[in-house]
């Protein structure tokens, strides 16, 4: 799937800690443009924490995170805004604004960051909702949508400004297998056609096999990346037994 090898995210010597507790210890990796990049690992290994560092919500204890060559950790003011315009985020809880209808939720970034006229904004919102399969639900409040629909709505909002990178935190969780597969197709199509780079935190192995160009695996015992590669390769050829077991869903006492 990956056609370009240009790097869009550099994570350099990143250490993440909550006070004195180190969660991730000195890791480095790169994400290439147009790639569907998956962060995988057991529960509590710091996957979502890593994602939140990458989108600049928290500052790391040490290290740098470069988005398209700019350090999101140290950037401030307009520079930070420029970096944030390049990314879109779908949170695990969807984080839709409860007081706004679905339409307004998706329209908000367009109102704030573009000079499109009102009718144009309406059209773009409807197109995004069509892309995620939610056309017809414009007037629904987030509380009136199912968990899966809320996730799709959050993806629509995250990509309404057509960012270069979309960060998705557990996108398939709570979706039925068909909707989940449709979402996978959507991700593949967006990565293909719009050259959007995806950074996804997920546990869903079927999704990973169908969408991921590359996977990194975090292990909370060593607090480091223990595997990096294509999911099929990691399952069949990894040197690390735990990694192979993880992919094959084998239960042993070693699996945390």
């Amino acid at each position: 799937m990956n056609t370009e090898s240009e790097t869009i995210i550099h994570v350099e010597s990143l250490t993440v800690a909550y006070e004195d507790t180190v969660v991730i210890d000195n890791i480095s990796f790169e994400v290439r443009k147009g790639e569907v990049f998956v962060i995988l690992g057991g529960s509590g290994c710091g996957k979502s924490t890593l994602l939140k560092q990458m989108i600049g919500l928290y500052s790391p204890a040490a290290g740098r995170i470069l988005i398209d060559g700019q350090d999101i950790v140290s950037a401030e003011g307009d520079e930070r805004l420029r970096i944030l315009r390049k990314i879109g985020v779908m949170y695990q809880s969807s984080a839709l604004f409860g007081s706004m209808a679905l339409f307004e939720n998706v329209r908000l970034p367009l109102e704030e960051f573009t000079n499109l006229n009102s009718a144009a904004m309406d059209l773009i919102v409807l197109m995004k909702l069509k892309l995620v399969g939610l056309k017809g639900f414009e007037n629904h409040m987030p509380s009136e949508l199912s968990g899966g629909m809320q996730k799709r709505a959050a993806i629509a909002r995250a990509m309404v400004l057509d960012p270069q990178i979309l960060f998705l935190d557990e996108p398939s969780a709570g979706l039925d297998p068909i909707t989940s597969a449709e979402l996978d197709q959507l991700i593949i199509s967006l990565a293909h056609n719009l050259k959007i780079t995806f950074v996804i935190v997920t546990h869903e192995l079927p999704s990973i096999y169908s969408i991921a160009d590359r996977v990194i695996m975090l292990d909370k015992r060593v607090k480091k990346i223990v595997a990096d590669g294509r999911p099929q390769d990691l399952r069949d050829k990894s040197d690390n037994q735990w990694v192979r077991q993880f992919f094959k869903r084998e239960v042993t006492s070693n699996v945390s």
């Binding site: 420029r82 315009r85 390049k86 604004f97 409860g98 007081s99 339409f103 367009l110 960051f113 573009t114 000079n115 499109l116 006229n117 009102s118 009718a119 144009a120 309406d122 059209l123 773009i124 919102v125 409807l126 197109m127 995004k128 069509k130 892309l131 056309k135 414009e138 007037n139 409040m141 987030p142 509380s143 990509m159 309404v160 400004l161 057509d162 199509s189 293909h192 056609n193 719009l194 050259k195």
Partner: protein, 376 residues
């Protein structure tokens, strides 16, 4: 903003063909610059044939595709011929995903027309529903209090003491400050006209009676409604939104016993105690005025003792118990009836404070009438 450059050229040939040439980067930042220009060109020319040359587009994102969909939509509506030439395959695929006629209306409106009769009916039903749930909640609360009186071990005393501290003890500074200032202001306002009749010493009577019987309990209750009742509503409302209340129910734990009882008991204990302090600080506030007018403190205290007795104090404290029940009960009741969403917690908090204050004033009036007939 990211700098994006896009240029638009429109040309109508002799045979009436409108050619729209778009070049550069067509993305969410730049598309807005040419959108209206494209629409104006289409409307001005109203050509039977339109050609959109996209061969010089370097990059096109979803917003850019939106512009092409809008062109298609307008042309299909007028029945004119449209040719989009030179669009790269990956963009063409995305464009093909959308049927322009699907986006006829900018946003389908919710059919939500109601007439006056329906609205009155809905409002009445809502008031009725509210009263019913309040009565049901009161019943559950009384039942839980009865159970707690018969068997005090059902109360989670550790939680109750913690709540007594946060909701009661921590409210002490604000209650003391407000009572002191009200005592001081009232004494000051009363002393000026009373001095004209040489009756300024009776300011002490005014302060003693009004503080012990009315202002001490009432001001404490109003401050507690704003501070504690809202906190209860927000806390329980958030628990409801996070499904923590549902979790308690499915564990077989009664939310009223588990969450409400501790709060009500803690507030019932704390209200009379805080009211005593409110009375003290109100009287202290009044003393400042009389001392500044040259009266010794002993004279002020003597007048207080002569004018007010234990019945006044206890009457006020009895009221404060009822106010405590209202503050905690209404806060918890609205918290437990929170719907979903962040704004729902705000709604519950507002309702708790507003209805709490209204109930406090009404109850105060009721007490006044009862005390009058009892000769207190």
């Amino acid at each position: 903003m990211i700098e994006s450059r896009v240029t638009l050229n429109t040309e109508v040939s002799k045979d009436g063909v409108l050619t729209i040439t778009i070049s550069g980067r067509l993305d969410s930042t730049s598309t807005g610059n040419i959108w209206q220009g494209v629409i104006d060109a289409l409307e001005r020319a109203s050509s039977k044939r339109v050609v959109v040359d996209t061969s010089e587009i370097d990059y096109c994102d979803g917003t850019g595709i939106g512009l092409l969909v809008e062109i298609q939509r307008r042309q299909k509506k007028t029945g004119s011929k449209l040719e989009i030439s030179g669009l790269r395959d990956e963009y063409q695929k995305l464009l093909d995903f959308f049927d322009p006629l699907e986006f006829e209306e900018s946003r389908p409106e919710k059919s939500r027309k109601t007439n006056l009769t329906e609205e009155v009916g809905r409002a009445t039903f809502s008031v009725w529903d509210n009263i019913r749930s309040q009565v049901a909640f009161l019943g559950e609360l009384v039942a839980a209090l009865y159970l707690a009186a018969r068997n005090p071990t059902v109360v989670r005393w550790k939680d109750a003491f913690l709540i007594a501290e946060t909701a009661g003890v921590n409210a002490f500074p604000i209650v003391a400050l407000i009572s002191f200032l009200i005592g001081l202001i009232m004494a000051f306002q009363a002393a000026i006209p009373m001095k004209q009749f040489g009756a300024e010493i009776f300011v002490a009577d005014l302060i003693a009676l009004s503080t012990l019987r009315e202002l001490g309990p009432l001001m404490t209750a109003i401050v507690m409604a704003g501070r504690t009742s809202s906190a209860f509503a927000a806390e329980l409302g958030t628990m409801k939104v996070n499904e923590e209340v549902d979790a308690l129910t499915t564990m077989g734990l009664d939310p009223v016993r588990f969450l409400v009882l501790t709060r009500v008991i803690a507030t019932l204990f704390m209200m009379p105690l805080i009211t005593i302090f409110a009375n003290l600080f109100g009287i202290l506030g009044g003393s400042v005025v009389l001392l500044s007018m040259g009266y010794p403190l002993n004279t002020y205290i003597d007048r207080i003792i002569q004018s007010a007795d234990y019945v006044d104090l206890l009457g006020g404290l009895l009221k404060s118990l009822a106010f405590g029940l209202i503050v905690a009960g209404i806060g918890c009741s609205h918290g437990l009836r929170t719907r979903t969403g962040a704004s729902a917690v705000g709604d519950s908090t507002t309702k708790a404070v507003v209805s709490g204050i209204i109930m406090i004033i009404l109850t105060d009036g009721l007490f006044s009438v009862v005390y009058f007939y009892l000769g207190i």
